[in-house]
Symmetry: C2
Subunit: 371 residues, 2 copies
């Protein structure tokens, strides 16, 4: 029998009980609001995870490699939610010709014209959403920007709707701020859709989402789909803004104690940044969790202990308050709960899967990488 | 013909001319000092790179997966330079039985006893180095620590020597500080070897190294090998401490412009932290290079432009001084020069290889991942 003590460390561990609980919570919330989920697969990048929480449903991807991989696994409604580089359109066309509804994203006339020209040349419809900026976080046009309708017109019958992402919600600090961010995300997306419709253009899709806003939203009228992905695993950044508790974190990295520096109050492990990533997403939060919190191998947090340092294949554990680190002999296995599940998961090729505190590893799930 | 404009972005690019120049520089320096190199393969993790700069020579690895991979490619003298987790000894034994001289590292009596017990049970010699702490950076025992000879005795005939790594040299700020770090690294390692020898124990191996100290050393008397790995690619952290110039950086990430936010003075690309890593190693240096400097697709730096922000698949480029970003239309390809080559390379499955400013991609080189 394979248990959490069997594979060589470091390795990525998923608690399927927590994954299921996280999935059920958002599903029930969105069911109450009457809006379907378009799962973002960029966090887990695993067909097994997607099948478990969202079998065959509409998905969001962050790379064309994900689109191709999930299409091969039977996911035929796919949104590629990164502004399209025209160079990549041949791969989009190949998926469309295989019967996959692959929708692209853009926020400029240059992209809209490139998509339209390509669609004409290929005699294809390339469904495209216009990216809307709701909070200045990244790309997109605002509803008030005249280029919104120009882009819509330039897309011709490729225009499929609008999309926005409240990226600033990751920096919200209160439930009021999260709720306001969710309401703003919905309001801006719906306003953009109305601008297109007022110009006589179709806007069937009104797509919003982020893990924080998906959970905080109470009004999604006019919205046709919600995107979220991180929530399947959650992480310390999400716990830090109150979207989940640390008990909800379904992903961890199992590491082994390989040394001690008593005079520095350090425990050294074989899990460095190659295993956790360099993500320090809690650094700017109220509580800086270093490279992650530390639990025993069964998942019970060890109070006050955190991963404070990382080199490529070494982790340094120490205490937040300077109290002596607990007795953790050479060979002790521990779990590191990560800052940012998307970044930590990306360091691994597969997940070992347990259910709750049962140490038996039920199975492994695959993970995709690359572009 | 494949050129730098052919593969879909983002992808990792290596300039073989710079790689060769970097390799020749260190080889000539160590030849002058009369000490052999034990190449650390953890940066490139590529047999093609190792074959090119160090064909078949002694190597250092950071994971047993690297040891197994390079052994299969003909590298038979391998040092695993992370403190040994006793759980991993069966994989060490399997390599030893295949005729690979696999040397392990440790810094505690608990590990020494575990290695000795395992070696006896398996009827094998498991060569082991004692890790010496020369600058308080990570693990190891100091030469003055009585446990050094206790560990040496506990190893019996598995004792192979001592190893130290001047990890603090990455934070040196002047050539004097680098030179002092290199001298200290050599002095502490030799002192530790003398402690063992004075106790009647053998110490054939005296291993030192880091990319900064390997280049700064002027006296390696008593040292039997120098470890370095990052120097094959170099990076902005190394340029920041003066070990190389930005013109020596052999690794970059090719990205494509996918958008603009003129009012924010941003250019958006399709290369986010998934392509560059989250490493912000220059953050604490005199000049913070963000997520990296920006060059045109042929490698010429664009003055003042840097990658200031990253989400998973989006990069944000902006200027250091607030001057307007240059005209970079949608579809423009750029190179991002990374903070930390080890971390950035780890995000990629392969390297596309060019030579100097010739845009033709000669070949691709593979890369290993995992543990």
């Amino acid at each position: 029998m394979t248990t959490v003590d069997t594979p060589d460390t470091p390795f990525a561990l998923v608690d399927a009980e927590k994954l299921d609980r996280n999935a059920a919570r958002l599903r029930e919330h969105l069911d109450r609001l009457g809006v379907p989920l378009r799962l973002h697969v960029k966090t887990a990048k695993s067909v097994e995870v997607a099948d478990r929480v969202h079998a065959g449903g509409p998905i969001t991807v962050s790379t064309l490699a994900e689109a191709e991989h999930f299409a091969a696994a039977g996911y035929t409604d796919v949104l590629y939610a990164v502004g399209i580089d025209p160079h990549k359109l041949p791969r989009v066309a190949a998926l469309l010709r295989r019967g996959v509804t692959l929708t692209v994203l853009l926020d400029s006339l240059a992209q809209a014209r490139a998509v339209t020209r390509f669609a004409q040349e290929e005699d294809l419809r390339v469904p495209a959403l216009v990216e809307i900026d709701c909070d200045g976080h990244r790309g997109g046009v605002t509803p008030a920007d005249p280029s919104l309708t120009e882009i819509g017109r330039a897309l011709g019958d490729n225009l499929a709707g609008v999309l926005t992402h409240a990226g600033e919600s990751y920096f919200a600090h209160t439930s009021e701020a999260l709720h306001a961010s969710a309401q703003n995300e919905r309001d801006v997306a719906v306003a953009a859709a109305e601008v297109l419709r007022a110009a006589g253009l179709p806007c069937p899709v009104v797509s919003v989402g982020s893990t924080p806003t998906a959970h905080a939203a109470t009004d999604l009228s006019g919205v046709t789909e919600v995107r979220a992905g991180n929530y399947v695993f959650f992480d310390l950044v999400m716990a830090g803004i109150g979207v989940c508790s640390t008990d909800d974190l379904a992903l961890s990295v199992v590491v082994t104690v390989i040394g001690h520096r008593h005079e520095k109050n350090w425990v050294l492990t074989d899990g460095g940044w190659m295993a956790t990533s360099r993500d320090r997403g809690t650094q700017a939060q109220a509580v800086d969790q270093g490279y992650g919190l530390v639990a025993d191998v069964h998942g019970t947090l060890i109070p006050g202990l955190l991963m404070t340092g990382a080199s490529q294949e070494h982790g340094v554990l120490s205490t937040r308050d300077g109290k002596p680190v607990p007795e953790l002999p050479i060979g002790t296995r521990l779990r590191i709960l990560p800052n940012h599940a998307c970044a930590t998961a990306a360091q691994h090729e597969r997940y070992h899967v347990v259910s709750g505190t049962n140490p038996s590893v039920d199975t492994t799930w695959s993970r995709l990488r690359g572009w």
